[in-house]
């Protein structure tokens, strides 16, 4: 695209979140780009941090009202249908707007997205902060966007091309904090801190461990500043961590608890942090309680031996039970998660998992249906494993070699019924 260099590049970022939440991803993109001296005065940002239930035509209306030169949309499997519709409308109404998509739903299948969605001009693959800034810089300099590392784009002749991969950001502290820079204002219950990227586990259905590779951490100083800011923001009584494993190491947990405890004493609470429950003992549970943690989320996802092996998940029932009991003794509610439709699981395995969880009386038992997400190991091995799933987002499982389509639907209905019964208590 060509850009009139006399005027700032009007860049609109669109997030479609669950109600009550904000897009940390967009916060990072904007904070990183705003800190790029090369873009100062050349790019003007507006963020539309909305909820996924807003009518796509209304979102497009608001975006078009800002006459964007570039629209950047964060796409997940949950908001993809709306996101594509918004981009389609924007492109029709304002063809000169460059439509840039990023996020886990499009990054791993960038070329396919560009081939299928003519409204998309550019897809950012993988970690977006540096690539998006470089993309904006290329536009302001009148350079071809398809040569920016980490993007796939439509070339002048209409063909879809991919530039080379961009390495992961070596130092996460080079990404300015959206909270500390004022790009995002924390909201009660909807603010998240990310203290590291990557996951020690590599579960086949999950994007987290595969998309980010090795674990990279934000510095303790940076995390401490974010904690202090969120905990002292007027009206913010609770927030959470987006980390895949909050108790990543004993030292890390001890440090986090030490930073959070003074705020917990004054009433700040952490909700729904994800823990590796098999590492939790009474000492860890006490640390979590002192940090203000009121609820944690954990597996087992399945207790079926075949599914666990296929999905590369470890599960030790005795240690799992011990972890739940330790947390309950510390007064922390546990959400046990199970997935219907994992390869290798039968319906009987799935309900054995529910029974296992109910017997623990953890607080919440939550079931969800498998989504075969782009970029995951299951997505790549779907054919080999005989998984049939909806090719359209959110890519829900349709059938497996061990569970038919109809039995999946029946299992969902029964699981929801059991969850409602369990939740219905004084």
């Amino acid at each position: 695209m060509t850009h009139d260099s006399d005027n700032p590049l009007r860049t609109v970022l669109v997030g479609l979140n669950s109600p009550g939440y904000q897009s940390l991803a967009l916060g990072y993109l904007r904070a990183y780009a705003q800190a790029d001296a090369r873009l100062a005065g050349r790019v003007a940002f507006q963020t539309l941090d909305l909820t996924v239930d807003v009518d796509p035509w209304w979102v497009a209306y608001r975006a078009l009202d800002l006459e964007p030169d570039v629209i950047g949309v964060s796409v997940t499997c949950w908001n993809a249908r709306s996101a594509f519709e918004i981009c389609r409308i924007v492109k029709q109404a304002r063809p000169q707007t460059l439509v840039v998509m990023g996020g886990p739903e499009v990054g791993p299948i960038a070329e396919r997205v560009l081939e299928r969605h003519t409204e998309a001009d550019v897809v950012v693959r993988g970690e977006g902060e540096e690539t998006f800034s470089e993309l904006l810089y290329a536009i302001t300099r009148g350079r071809r966007v398809e040569y920016v590392d980490g993007v796939s784009a439509r070339a002048a002749d209409g063909s879809v091309v991919s530039a080379q991969e961009r390495p992961l950001i070596a130092s996460l502290d080079s990404i300015p904090s959206p909270y500390l820079t004022g790009v995002m204002s924390p909201v009660d219950g909807g603010a998240y801190i990310e203290s590291y990227r990557g996951c020690p586990h590599h579960c086949s259905y999950c994007f987290e461990g595969k998309g980010y590779g090795r674990i990279r951490r934000f510095s303790n100083e940076r995390v401490a500043e974010e904690i202090d800011l969120l905990a002292t923001t007027s009206g913010v009584h609770s927030f959470s961590f987006i980390d895949p494993v909050f108790n990543l190491t004993p030292d890390r947990l001890e440090w986090l608890a030490g930073r959070l405890a003074p705020h917990a004493v004054r009433g700040t609470r952490l909700h729904t942090v994800e823990v590796d429950i098999e590492r939790v003992d009474d000492a860890q549970a006490a640390l979590l309680a002192s940090a203000g943690v009121v609820s944690v989320e954990t597996g087992p996802q399945s207790i079926g031996a075949d599914a666990l092996a296929t999905c590369r998940r470890a599960f030790n029932p005795e240690r799992f039970v011990a972890g739940v009991e330790a947390l309950k003794r510390a007064g922390i509610s546990v959400e046990c998660d199970l997935i219907i439709g994992l390869p290798g699981d039968t319906v009987k395995d799935f309900f054995a998992g529910i029974e296992f969880c109910l017997d623990l009386d953890p607080g919440i038992v939550q079931t969800s249906t498998l989504h075969v997400l782009p970029g995951t190991d299951l997505y790549e091995r779907a054919e080999e494993l005989g998984l049939r799933y909806d090719p359209e987002p959110p890519h829900e499982i349709v059938s497996t070699p061990t569970i038919s389509y109809n039995d999946l639907r029946r299992a969902e209905v029964r699981a929801v019924f059991l969850q409602r019964q369990y939740r219905a208590r004084i």
């Binding site: 529910i354 109910l358 623990l360 009386d361 209905v413 929801v416 019964q421 369990y422 219905a424 004084i426």
Partner: protein, 221 residues
């Protein structure tokens, strides 16, 4: 899977199909202290998660001191309290809201008198919405030759009223291709309306394709 200990508040008085010819005996209710003793025993003997109890044996709303019984259950630490009813008493006055306020979270309706059952489920659903708490209604449909053809319709009506799960008690009907077709239709109607339908009866009542709907009591004949 989630076990409820039945606490009998009395016996008799339960409606049954008028066309089958059985006339209900008058309900009799147990003394309050006797029922409270049963609650205490249930709390001592429960298996997690719980303790969970369900007042039944006769329509729970017929017990003259039901509020005392519910209050005693709360005091004893019961976390899930259920009531069995034919539904009509639940629909009367503020009974649904009152039961919720007292701590009842599970209502189990016997679907014999369809109008009464549906009115009770609807009143409960409305009260639950107004209170903003987690609570569920379940139902049992005793199947006989006179209502089997209407099973799917009954399931649809209860789903619309807000029931979460239905037990189709087909233990007193003989298996035939026709009966199986009706029961299968009831199961499918539940599934498409997000209501779980469980079937009690001989294992060959349901084809293999619908084996998930077989009740936990299995072949109970």
């Amino acid at each position: 899977m989630l076990e409820f200990q039945l606490i009998e508040v009395g016996s008799g008085g339960r409606a049954s199909c008028a066309r089958c010819g059985a006339s209900p005996e008058a309900a009799t209710y147990l003394p309050t202290e006797e029922v409270i003793d049963c609650i205490r025993r249930a709390v001592l003997e429960y298996r997690p998660p719980g303790p969970n109890i369900r007042f039944g044996g006769a329509d729970a709303f017929g017990h003259p001191e039901l509020p005392v019984l519910v209050s005693a259950a709360v005091q004893e630490g019961v976390v899930r309290i259920g009531l069995e009813t034919d539904g009509s008493a639940l629909a009367a006055g503020d009974n649904a809201a009152g039961a919720l306020h007292a701590g009842v979270r599970h209502i189990h309706v016997s679907h014999v008198d369809a109008a009464g059952a549906l009115a009770g489920i609807a009143a409960w659903t409305q009260a639950v919405r107004a209170a903003g708490v987690d609570a569920v209604a379940t139902a049992t449909v005793p199947v006989c030759v006179h209502n089997v053809a209407e099973l799917a319709k009954a399931v649809a009506a209860m789903a619309e009223a807000g029931v979460a799960g239905i037990t189709v008690d087909a233990r007193s009907v003989s298996v035939s291709a026709e009966v199986t077709a009706y029961v299968v239709a009831a199961c499918d109607t539940g599934t498409v309306n997000s209501v779980w339908v469980e079937v009690l009866g001989p294992s060959d009542m349901l084809p293999e394709s619908h084996s998930l709907h077989r009740g936990e009591t299995g072949d109970s004949r």
